[in-house]
C-alpha cells in the first residue's frame, strides 16, 4: 500500500515540488525520485554530460529542505577521503601531552580512538547526520573499482564499520543519489543495490520550459527558435551533442548579446557556445547551410 514517505508523498507530488524548486522533471524522473524516497534505496542516475544529473540531487535537497553532502569522485579517491580518517597529528599531541601523567598505555589507547580524533569524510558525515540529508556521490564511474567495494556497505545497510569504534549505523537514512557518465560499466553489486534512472535529452517542449525557466529574460519566440535549432543539431552525427546546460548557456549568450532574432547569422556567430569540436561546427554549418 502507498505509504507516506519522508521525502515525497507520490510521483505527482515529486514532480510538482521539483518543479517549484526550478527542476522540471519528466514523469519517469519524478516516479523514480519518488521511489528512491519511498523505498529508501540509493538512486543511480546515468546519462550524457549536462542533462541535469547532479542538478536532480540538488533539487531534491532544495525542495525537501535537506542538506546536501557531496562526495566528488575522482581517480585515486580512497577510504581516507571518502569515509573517515584518524587525526594522527592530534593523536600524537595527545600522547605527548599525557607523557608526564601516570596514565597507563591502555587508557591512552582508549582515549585516542574516540570521536574527538575522528575526521569524518562525506560518507560518514551523511550517515551520522540526524537532520534530513541528501548524499550526492558524483561521477562514480571516475573512481577505481576498489572504491565501489567501499560504497557497498554504505549503500545497502547505511552503516560504516570503523574497526576501532565499531559500527556506525545511520540515525536517519539519507536520500542517496549516485551519478555516472557511463564511461565505465559499474559493478553488478553496486547496481543491484540501486534504483536506476537513465536521463536523456528532453523533448522540445520540456527543453523550452527549462530554458525559459532558467533564463526568464529570453524572448518566448527566440526560445522556441533556439530549442528547434538545438534539436536539429542533436539529430546530426556529432561527436558531442549539445546538452541542456549548453542550451541554457546559449540562451544566456543571446540575452547578453541582445540578439532578438535567431537567424542564420546569429546561429553561426554563437555556435561556439554549443558545439565544442571543430569538426562538429563544420558539420553543423554544412548541414544547416549557415554560410552558403
Amino acid at each position: 500500500m502507498p505509504q507516506p514517505s519522508t521525502w515525497f508523498s507520490s510521483p505527482d507530488d515529486a514532480a510538482a515540488r521539483l518543479a517549484e524548486s526550478g527542476y522540471l522533471a519528466d514523469p519517469t524522473t519524478a516516479t523514480t525520485a519518488y521511489l528512491a524516497g519511498a523505498l529508501e534505496k540509493p538512486l543511480l542516475v546515468e546519462g550524457p554530460a549536462g542533462v541535469g544529473k547532479t542538478e536532480l540531487a540538488k533539487a531534491v535537497a532544495r525542495t525537501t529542505g535537506a542538506d546536501l553532502v557531496r562526495l566528488q569522485c575522482y581517480e585515486g579517491l580512497d577510504e581516507a577521503r571518502a569515509l573517515y580518517e584518524w587525526n594522527y597529528k592530534k593523536q600524537l599531541l595527545r600522547i605527548q601531552a599525557s607523557h608526564g601523567d601516570d596514565q597507563t598505555w591502555s587508557e591512552t589507547h582508549d582515549d585516542i580512538f574516540t570521536d574527538e580524533f575522528l575526521l569524518t569524510r562525506p560518507l560518514l558525515t551523511a550517515i551520522r547526520r540526524e537532520e534530513p540529508t541528501v548524499l550526492l556521490i558524483d561521477e562514480v564511474d571516475k573512481t577505481d573499482v576498489e572504491v565501489e567495494g567501499l560504497l557497498l556497505e554504505v549503500l545497502s545497510d547505511f552503516q560504516v564499520t570503523i574497526p576501532e569504534m565499531g559500527t556506525v549505523s545511520a540515525v536517519r537514512r539519507p536520500f542517496v543519489v549516485l551519478t555516472s557518465n557511463a564511461t565505465r560499466e559499474l559493478s553488478e553489486a553496486v547496481k543491484r543495490r540501486c534504483l536506476y534512472l537513465h536521463l536523456d535529452y528532453p523533448d522540445a517542449e520540456r527543453e523550452r520550459e527549462i530554458v525559459v525557466s532558467q533564463v526568464p529574460d529570453l524572448d518566448e519566440r527566440v526560445a522556441g527558435q533556439l530549442v528547434a535549432t538545438i534539436s536539429r543539431l542533436r539529430e546530426l552525427d556529432l561527436k558531442k551533442a549539445p546538452s541542456i546546460a549548453e542550451s541554457v548557456d546559449w540562451a544566456r549568450t543571446l540575452v547578453a548579446l541582445e540578439i532578438g532574432e535567431l537567424d542564420d547569422k546569429a546561429v553561426s556567430d554563437t555556435l561556439g557556445v554549443v558545439l565544442k569540436h571543430v569538426s562538429d561546427q563544420a558539420r553543423a554549418v554544412k548541414e544547416l547551410r549557415l554560410r552558403s
Binding site: 514523469p27 523514480t32 581517480e75 577505481d144 564511461t183 565505465r184 553488478e188 534512472l197
Partner: protein
Amino acid sequence: MSGLVDRHISFLEALRAAGLSVSLAEDLDAIAALSALDWDDRRVVHDGYAATLVKKQSQRPTFDALFDVYFPRMVGDGVAVRAGSDDDDGGEGGVRDNAEQLAGFRDELFDALSDGDQQALLQLAAEMVARFGAMPGRGPGLSSWSAYTALQRVSPSELVDRVVQALLADGRLDGEARREAGRRIGSFTKMVEDDARRRIAEEKGPEHVANVAIRPSIDRIDFTAARKSDLEDMRREIYPLARRLATRLTQEHHARRRGPLDFRRTVRASISTGGVPLVTHHKPKRPHRTELVVLCDVSGSVANFAQFTLLLVYALRDQFEKVRAFTFIDHVHEVTEHFTPGADVADVMTNLAAATSHAALWGRTNYGRALAKFEEQHADALGPKSSLLVLGDARSNYSDLNLDVLERLAGAARHSWWLNPEHRRHWDTGDSAASRYGEVVPMVECRNLTQLGEFVHDIL
C-alpha cells in the same frame, strides 16, 4: 492476486531469458516499488519496473519490448480505435480492406507522419494491423496477425517522398528532412511490429512471443545479420564504446604504472620522517604503444564489419603509435589518408565506400591475390614494432590461399591476429579457409560490438 504474481514471475523469467541479469533482490525491490505506487497508470508501473530491474541502458529496448508483451497497452482493438473507426467503416460488417479503404488509410497515415503525432501514429499502427495484417483462415496454432503483410499492403516507406515534401514545406532543409522522414517511418514500422507482437501474445500467451520475437540488444547483434536501422544505431555506439575503452585502458595503465624504485626521491622524501623511508617512490614506466597495420576485406559480405572495426581503431588512434589501414577485395588499396584527426564520421564513411572500388579488380574476393599484392606493394608497412590485424571471413572463392605469403607477413610483424565476423560453427564451411589461415595467424571470432570491444581492449 495469484494471477498477478504469476505474471510478474513469468515476466522476470522472460527478462532473464533475454539476457538481463535480474537478481532475487531486484525482484523483491520491484515488488516493493509496485506496492509503493498506484496502478492506475500503465506508465507508472512501467517506470517502477524499469527503475528496479533494468540497470543498463543498452538493455532498455529489450525490456520495453517484453513489457509491451506482458503488460499490453490494450487488449484487442482497444476502446479508442473502435469508437474512432465506426463512422468511416459504415457500420458493422462493412468492407475493411479494399483499394479505397487503403488509399484513405494511407492519407490518414501521411497526415500523422508529417505532423509527427505519436498518439495518432500508435492508434494507426493498431488499426493497420487489425485491418491489413489479419490472416484469417489459417489453421489453429498459426499466428493470425502479420506485421509483414500489413507493411507490404500499406507500405509506409512509399510515403517517404511525400513526408519529405511536407517537411520541406515546413521549412526543414533537404538532407535533414530526408533523415527525419526516414526516422519517423522507421519508428512507425516498429510500432506496427510491436502491435502485431502484442496481438499474437494475446492469443498464444506472452511466453511464446518472448521466446521468438525479441531481438537481442544492439551490442549483441551480429554484424552480418544487422538491419539497416541497426547499423545506424551501431555506428552511434562506436564513439561511446571507444571512449569507454580508452577510460578503462587509462585506468588500468595507471594502476600498472609503478616502475622501478626511484632511490633519490625515496631518500629525499624520507628526510621529513626522520630518515625513515615510510613511502617509497617509483619511476614511471615508459608507456609502450604499438603500430597497427589493419588489412580488411571490404567485399559485400563483410563490409559492415570492416567499417566498424576501422572506425573503432581510429577512434582509439591515440592509443597507438601509428595506424595504417588497407582495404582489399582482390586488390589492395591504402585508406589511411581518410582518417585525419578530428575528421567527421559521416564523411569518413562516404569516402571509405567510394574507395572500395579501388580495392577490386574483378570484384570477386581473392585473399591469396590480395595478400600477394600487399606484400609486393606495402611490405614496408610491417616492421618489428608493428602488429598486423586482418579482418575478413576467409572466404576466398576457392582460389589459391598464398599461405606462405601470410606466413612471411606474420613473421615480419610483432604480433598478428585475424578477426572473423562469422560464428565459429560456420568456419570451414563452403569456401571458408578459416582454419587453414588460422594455423598461420591466430583467428578470433568477432561477431558483435561486445566481442569487438573486448578484443581491442585485450590487444592494447
